[in-house]
Amino acid sequence: MYEIRRFEDRVNELFARGAIHGTTHLCAGQEALDVSLALELRPTDTVSATYRGHGIALALGMTVHSVLAEIMGKAAGCTGGVGGSMHLSDPDVGLLPTFAIVGAGLPVAAGAALAFQTRGEDRVAVCVFGDGAANIGAFHEALNLAAVWKLPVVFVCDNNVYAEYSRIDVTTPLSDLYRRAGSYDIPGVPVDGMDVAATRAVLAEAVARARAGAGPTLVEAKTYRFAGHSRADQATYRPAGELERWRERDPLTLARVELLATGAATADDLTALEKAVREDLDAVTDTVAALPDPEPATMFHNVRGATA
């Protein structure tokens, strides 16, 4: 989590000083969910996520080098620089190309689960999406399909209160999105998405349920987006004090308190770990910044495969 947070800070800096082209969507405040997911999945499981995907990519095990190089459009990035921040992917860690179209990942995750079910494998597909995505048709169609076919998929709504610049109450008649599971007769479970232990427990159960063939679950993780929506957004539309209240429950702080309280780590351990993360990030940033851009020919690669 600490690595993800520092990574997002770094991306923000690089973007601000023009070293990153286009747009970025930071996940600061939502790291606990990404990390919990990674901890509850097996390498053979598969994840579909969104443009706000740096955190899940790193949590699943993609390297800082590969992710940062992609975001900076380098030839060494995970797609060779043709995808960018919104399209991270690595099948080795189970990450499908992240989705830039809101809601598109849900049916695709259901389909991955369908493949597992049809072949009788005990693999699970997970889809992470936002609160805003819960209003689009693909959400409804995917949950209905997954429910009626009892697919091994877990739908995880990362409810960070905002969709772009719109607060959830402006666009959505109810803020407890887990209740939408009722429309499909599947379990809907809310969880404090700032708390790793709580989130892991809920995810573990949903994943186990899917793996056991008992069908899909809708999990709603209550989180908060510490940054703006994208690029230079300062999020001035937030009600006064809201950010500050949520920051008191910063997942990094909660995790630190927990680790120290349970004796899983000492303050010194954590300081050393954090220092190592920062140093590593600095070093990788320098390395990546010096890497070459892709050749023009790159844009012609991977448009289609060789016909047998």
């Binding site: 695709v108 995917a142 289609r304 495969g305």
Partner: protein
């Protein structure tokens, strides 16, 4: 070789592909228990069971997306869209997702998916169930589009599409489902994507047709006698430039016959590309015979006039061959529209 209906050729292609490859599966609305709204999946549920042949809810976005997801995990799903118009609620998954995953994963996530959709006019299904709408799919790098014109191409293009490593859309002219034709099945029956067929030889004019206009163009050509070469384009993306250009090099004249309205139709691409590549070989202006720019009308007589008939094609080809000029379509000749 056997004689069969186009819909039977499709069912045969699906069955053969499913026998050959355990990762092939089929889903869509009423494709399983009812064996397809147009009976294009007869016998499949019985032979391959409910895991591989599935009836879906009415959720084209959901099940096309599910096909995309299953394909990323190594299946070879065939998703059936009952009427082409329904892709209007699901286009995103085919065009924006399926077609881009290979590119967006450095070639590591692939989508060997087939989407079949029935298209076109001629059966009285009315404005919202009678269009061809190839234009929705033809500007998407990464996606192939094929259109059968008889039992053999229905069988062979579908087999080729299922084996293709990337997403392929097959647009099936609905009016042909009940037509009978000879069909070679098995590997020899496969029609490679990207290859056009010269279905009639001639040296006076090259007529490029597709789907249901192949038989109307052939009908007109028969009446005109020798001289008319008819090319069944078969694959729309990528289309077979070599075959079309070679034909035009021989004939010096190009006419494209399309089922649907002129504006935005696929034929302009053929005309434009051939003109750019073979300008000096053209002895007369290339042109297109199409439907008028109106929604498909329901009334039987109106619907029959909407798409170019063999009579209309015959008239226009004859006038063109005689004068070397582009003839007026019927609605201008009859003064009913500009």
């Amino acid at each position: 070789m056997a004689r069969m209906r186009v819909r039977q050729a499709i069912a045969a292609a699906l069955a053969d592909a499913m026998r050959e490859d355990g990762s092939v599966m089929l889903f869509g609305e009423d494709v399983a228990a009812a064996e397809g709204p147009f009976k294009t999946s007869e016998g499949l549920l019985a032979e391959f069971g409910p895991l591989r042949v599935r009836d879906t809810p009415i959720s084209e976005m959901g099940f096309v997306g599910a096909a995309v997801g299953a394909a990323t995990m190594g299946m070879r799903p065939v998703a059936e869209i009952m009427f082409m118009e329904f892709l209007g609620v699901a286009l995103d998954q085919l065009v924006t997702e399926a077609a881009t995953f290979r590119y967006l994963s450095n070639g590591r996530v692939t989508v060997p998916l087939v989407v079949r959709a029935s298209t076109g006019s001629g059966l009285g299904f009315g404005t919202q169930h009678s269009q061809t709408l190839e234009n929705w799919l033809t500007a998407t790098p990464g996606l192939k589009v094929a259109v059968p014109s008889d039992a053999q191409t229905a069988y062979g293009l579908l087999r080729a599409a299922i084996r293709d490593p990337d997403p392929v859309a097959i647009l099936e002219p609905r009016v042909l489902y009940a037509e009978r034709g000879d069909c070679v099945t098995g590997d020899e029956g496969i029609v490679p994507l990207g290859t056009a067929r010269v279905v009639r030889r001639g040296d006076a004019v090259t007529v490029v047709a597709l789907g249901q206009t192949v038989r109307t163009a052939l009908g007109a050509a028969e009446r005109l006698g020798t001289g008319v070469e008819v090319v069944d384009l078969s694959t729309l993306v990528p289309w077979d430039r070599a075959t079309v250009l070679a034909s035009v090099a021989r004939t010096g004249r190009l006419v494209v016959v399309e089922e649907a309205p002129a504006s935005g139709g696929w034929g302009s691409e053929i005309v434009a590309a051939v003109t750019s590549a073979a300008f000096r070989a053209l002895q007369a202006p290339p042109f297109r015979i199409t439907a008028p720019d109106v929604p498909v009308p329901y009334n039987k007589g109106l619907e029959a006039r909407f798409s170019p008939s063999a009579d209309e094609i015959e008239y226009q080809l004859r006038a063109y061959l005689e004068t070397g000029e582009v003839p007026d379509p019927w609605w201008r000749r009859e003064g009913v529209a500009a």
